[in-house]
Symmetry: C2
């Protein structure tokens, strides 16, 4: 028996395009003599459809699309993730299901048992957990079909009391298939392989694992679908960060002649590839081609523009230099060198006149209060206004260039440099941005060395340096990681050897700046805990602040 | 036996102030000879604490505070909502609990069984549901203690298979107590009374219901705690929208001599009071006193400033008029009349010079493209920059004045008039804003009649009217209500008699503007479905768009 894994990039709610994509993959798999082709979790809707699931119209359109696809499954069977109504009188209105299509119709529906409801996941908001366990019989083989979380380290995970594979194994299946939408973070590929391995070893069965690929706003799905032998060895891995379709002979996966040794790329390489996909999909799924951004001469905007150039084509990234009287010479010359290295379109638009006029307008109402953060923010906001005007005039999307360290401590101007349709580096700490710059320059200088070497500065007043108001990023990022990713409290962080006053200051800054992050653009998620949908904090609160 | 209901306004994470507030209420209840004083759900942390619950430090601080309070419960008992650890090896890490304090210590912990996980609720993200049912014995009486959702219309609600009161009733309790954090919307008080009544009638017991009061960022808790006789008649209702503490003799609630007929105020009156509380608590819990806003001469900013004046004191609301060359004379004169009516501080700051300078700066890069929405947005953004500069210079919070109709269809400028720390009217449709203005003028003209009567306009180009680009608000708001509040699909809405093209246009506008709403300030929630935490939509999607 031949099984095809179809790892595709779906567009949420775009049933026409998702259906076409699935039909094309079915045709391709059929041409490759596959008996069965497997698609990822909620393939027909795209993952996550979020509150669209609360619209009957949306769920009905998903059903219609799958019914239409079923007609094409005459000589080949297919497994497709879709939402289905819970017809019982009790419980949530939907199941997160997998439809098994055979003989031109939907033959069976299997529901997801374990529903993640933490971090970025809200599945218990929509779905009722499965309580009945069934095996799929297909061409003399028995398939144990599960959905994502269902096989996710159940015995080690305190959240769950049911183990779907334990229920299915009593039926003596021949194959495990898991369809997933498992979001990327830079540790995930390694963890995922171990989880899959524990399943194959425990049940002594081959495992076909199909993951979603592509970006859905902030969530990045890295693909990397896996075929694993009962021995826990990897038979094959599909591409990371792009669509892929491959066919496997079942017998050869049970007793494979050769294995693949997964070489997981470096953290910077993973983040790089994930962000490039994230930018690319944000633009193409929204129907945009061109990006605009402000190039400050600093490391964040430099890395952002390089990633955007890779995602969209260098001719599609419009770099605007917006110097003020506080801008250093090197901020211009370094930026010009960078755009020259990549041959990107650019303009220099000084903000001095606008700053003077607005200052003159405001002065009578400032009642002789001295220059302070107001004037610093004013410069950032004038830049924001100019960039948005160009964005509006030409239909470009403004890319936000803030990093995670800044976002964490509120070192940025709301409606100024915090503007943008998408935050590229908002889940990348400053120290990681430097690593990314080094990775970008791995085969030769793209980002000028001076941008990497100079002390970071917002250049909003004479001689300003980030480190005048913030601790050294090497220390700051470590404290932030403990607090944000690991959710350690102040006493735990202090016990690690960080200075008490500093820890309290940093945690306070994180908490009092929740209001700023609330209005931040969506942030491409590359870590285990990103700002945004996976971290839900009150704005009005007084905790560690 | 005397039971006190303590309906208090807690500050999320502010354990010192919450503890003091509870201790003060305990002293007051003791002075009134109460045997038991009851506080609301998660009183010690404030509701909802959201992801602070993922910090062990936060949960430990809550426990310490309750332990300290227990020492004061020597002659009086208390019931206090708090998170407690789930000590079992399986399940979520916490319970949403009620601590019963007696004889100077925590005598019993009761857990919440039914965990809402829809709309604005995320309780399944943090809490394990209760599975064991216990009654509290106290001074010869048996108390059936439940938490909020536990008694919430369980038999009619398809979500739940367990009914906590059915489990407790077998122990033959004498009293029902429910501690709640039930967020306000303009239909809630009526629905809530009916739900409570069905419980008293079914179990033939008196019910003491204590609700949270006060605003927690966007969520408004209206209080209105209730004592209800076994007959389903209301013995008493605590104040709406403010703190209250009252004591009841149990016998008199079982066989009360007099009842209260709840007169639920008009929708506009409810929304008005809720928004005033929302503004007031946002400011005082963040430690701010003064608001700034742009007064355009239109109805939205007029209503916003009146609400702010009521919440903060008229001397604390700084109104800035920001006319451009497109502003009509009446936009200035009407605004001046309004600030004169309320004697509010104000300034007139024309934006013409800034607009000219920015236009001159940008012109060479516009490549002779004609005046379009770019220049309209530019004016709105210059206003945003000026308001934020004044906000920064003086430490005022900028109030956003967008209404729900605009927010729905994206009729607003990101980083312009969509700026602000708090959106006052973002859950109030335009037609409801007019009703609110009429309500404000119920005892005499505060908002000048001309502001109410004139056709709405953004005044960003000559002769512009909202109705040039949007359908009549009377129709638009009806379509939006069907789509947003009731989640009807296009065919259902068209079947109601709305024009097909119009319905499709409106739904499309709602969906393609998700990216704008993502960066909107928190919106005070007054309806059953507000933009914000209760409505979670993908940005990158293609559904009805």
């Amino acid at each position: 028996m031949k099984i095809a894994l179809a790892q595709l990039n779906f567009h949420i709610g775009n049933f026409d395009s998702n259906k076409e994509k699935i039909l094309e993959a079915i045709r391709k798999a059929e041409a490759l003599k596959a008996d069965l082709v497997v698609f990822s979790e909620l393939a027909i809707t795209g993952y996550p459809p979020r509150d669209f699931l609360e619209f009957e119209d949306f769920v009905a359109k998903a059903k219609n699309a799958v019914d239409e696809i079923a007609i094409s499954c005459k000589n080949i069977a297919a497994i497709i993730g879709m939402p289905t109504p819970n017809t019982s009188k009790k419980g949530k209105l939907l199941f997160n299901s997998a439809a098994f299509l055979e003989d031109g119709k939907v033959k069976k529906i299997i529901h997801k048992t374990l529903l993640p409801n933490y971090d970025i996941f809200d599945e218990y908001r929509y779905f009722e957990p499965n309580r009945e366990f069934e095996i799929i019989g297909f061409r003399g083989k028995k398939i144990a079909l599960t959905i994502c979380e269902d096989i996710w380290d159940v015995e080690r995970n305190r959240l769950y009391t049911v183990n779907p594979m334990e229920e299915l194994i009593v039926h003596k299946p021949d194959i495990m298939i898991n369809i997933a939408a498992s979001p990327f973070n830079y540790n995930q590929a390694k963890i995922r392989e171990e989880v899959l391995r524990r399943n194959t070893l425990k049940y002594n069965l081959p495992l076909f694992y199909v993951n979603h690929v592509g970006a859905q706003t902030e969530l990045l799905f890295d693909g990397g679908s896996v075929v694993m032998a009962p021995s826990g060895k990897v038979v094959d891995v599909l591409n990371y960060f792009e669509e892929d379709l491959r066919v496997y002979e079942l017998e050869e996966t049970i007793r494979p002649k050769k294995f693949v040794k997964q070489e997981i790329p470096s953290k910077s390489a993973l983040i790089h590839d994930a962000l490039v996909m994230g930018i690319r999909n944000y633009f193409n799924k929204l129907g945009f081609k061109k990006a605009i951004l402000g190039l400050s001469g600093g490391i964040d905007s430099a890395v952002t523009t390089v990633l955007a150039a890779e995602a969209l084509g260098k001719e599609n990234v419009y770099n605007v230099l917006l110097p003020s009287k506080f801008s250093s010479d090197h901020s211009i010359s370094d930026s010009l060198e960078l755009v020259k290295n990549l041959q990107m379109p650019h303009d220099i638009i000084p903000i001095e006149n606008s700053f003077e006029t607005l200052n003159t307008t405001l002065e009578p109402y400032f009642h002789e209060k001295p220059f302070d953060i107001t004037e610093e923010n004013l410069q950032a906001r004038i830049r924001g206004v100019i960039l948005m005007a160009l964005s509006n005039k030409f239909g470009y999307i403004l890319l936000n260039t803030s990093n995670k360290s800044e976002a964490a401590v509120g070192y940025g101007t709301l409606y100024g440099d915090m503007n943008g349709g998408l935050s590229v580096l908002g889940d990348v700490y400053k120290t990681e941005v430097y690593e990314l710059a080094r990775y970008i320059n791995r085969n030769g200088e793209i980002i000028p060395e001076n941008i990497i070497l100079k002390a970071p500065s917002a250049e909003l007043r004479p001689g300003q340096k980030d480190q005048d108001s913030l601790p050294d990023y090497a220390i700051l990022d470590k404290i932030l990681y403990q607090y944000i990713e690991l959710r350690k409290g102040p006493s735990e962080i202090i016990a690690m050897g960080f200075e008490e006053e500093l820890v309290k200051k940093v945690l306070r800054l994180v908490n009092i700046n929740e209001y700023k992050r609330y209005q931040t653009p969506p942030i491409l998620r590359v870590s285990g805990k990103a700002f945004g949908m996976g971290r839900r904090m009150p704005i009005v609160a007084k905790y560690l602040s």
